[in-house]
Amino acid sequence: MEIAVVDYKGGNVQSVLFALERLGASPVLTADPEVLRKADKVLFPGEGEASSAMEALRAAGLDLVLPTLTQPFLGICLGMQLLGEHSEENNTSMLGLLPFKVQRFVPDTHHKVPHMGWNNLQALQGPLFTGLTEADHVYFVHSYYAPVGAYTTAQASHPAPFSAAVQYHNFYGVQFHTEKSGAVGTRILSNFLAL
């Protein structure tokens, strides 16, 4: 199985590569549209800031390539947010595959921003979460979130519910870091590879 990890010089991809290797996969890190089109699975890790990430994608021509992919695609963290239409983070237009607008958390005494740490998943749906329950925790680090909508396949709360995972056809997205979420994250990655 060919597994491609999108290389757009915009995030920490090493942890995702190591996590895939721990599952016995041999991922390739690439920005080549042909390699991406031919892969069996495509992963899109993201960290950092939305407008810089979109600029990097545009510079590599990937803003036009990624939406045309037809194999299972997993956006992680900012990689999930980029699937939406727009982000409040520096008023950024995103890839527009899913109809959500990314917003900033508003902090209060008991809810710090970034939302950082382990939170439990709620209202799990779909094949990524096979074998998991609402007692399972995953690791989040983010200051912006996608609201809950028809596309939401898992929720978490901080304090209001937000999209912890989304799906549209072959495009999957998770706000948390599968590669840093212990055995639960490993199961989700493994479920994705089995799609």
């Binding site: 920490n12 090493q14 190591f18 721990r22 960290e47 950082m116 680090v141 590669e179 840093k180 212990g182």
Partner: protein, 251 residues
Amino acid sequence: MVKKRLIPCLDVRDGRTVKGIQFEGLRDAGDPVALAERYAREGADELVFLDITATNQRRQPLTELVRNVARVLDIPFTVGGGINTVADVESLLLSGADKVSINSAALARPAFIAELARRFGSQCVVVAVDARLVANEWQVMTRAGTVATGREAVAWCREAADLGAGELLLTSMSHDGTKSGFALDLTRAVSDAVAIPVIASGGAGQPADFTAVFEQGGADAALAASIFHFNETALPALKSYLHAAGIPIRQ
């Protein structure tokens, strides 16, 4: 809801894990990669690696160790010690560190915090603050706790947060290594002053110390070293204790 985090800290010198009493008189506690794996298995929520000799001896942080840790570890980890430049941070993140912790470099030039936040995102910028209680005031120390800065701790924490820090690692040097409990007043004052998460550090001795730092101190996470390294308090037992005490934690 997001859970309170328990973070074993591995102080590293020459590739080995050590833990000092108030930063001096270091004891050897083992191989950092093996320790990291053990902690992850036992339920650590995150790990921190501090290269404690780096700042004084101007040695570059241990990117090779970071890579070896990242290869096996499936929980987040932070690396600190001797980080002075954007290039230092980039090489650690590219090696697989999730966050970097900066201390002396931020005090020498606070704009460094903003530069890192803009370049890599606040989520990976931890500002470590070493504070010592002197004449009833919490003073910020620099260069591995050896030099006073003249800054007051809560004000510096607020400034660091405003500049774009994603998290604070707040160590009471007056409590570090004493096992007499965390600095609850300092932790509460900082936690109330900033909107970003605060990791309390220094003084963990008993399970009840953790309950206190989460409830009275308002900490989002608690860091400890010696009680974990020397098997004085096992992580699973501590988590069960905190759960029974009504602290929201991941089990």
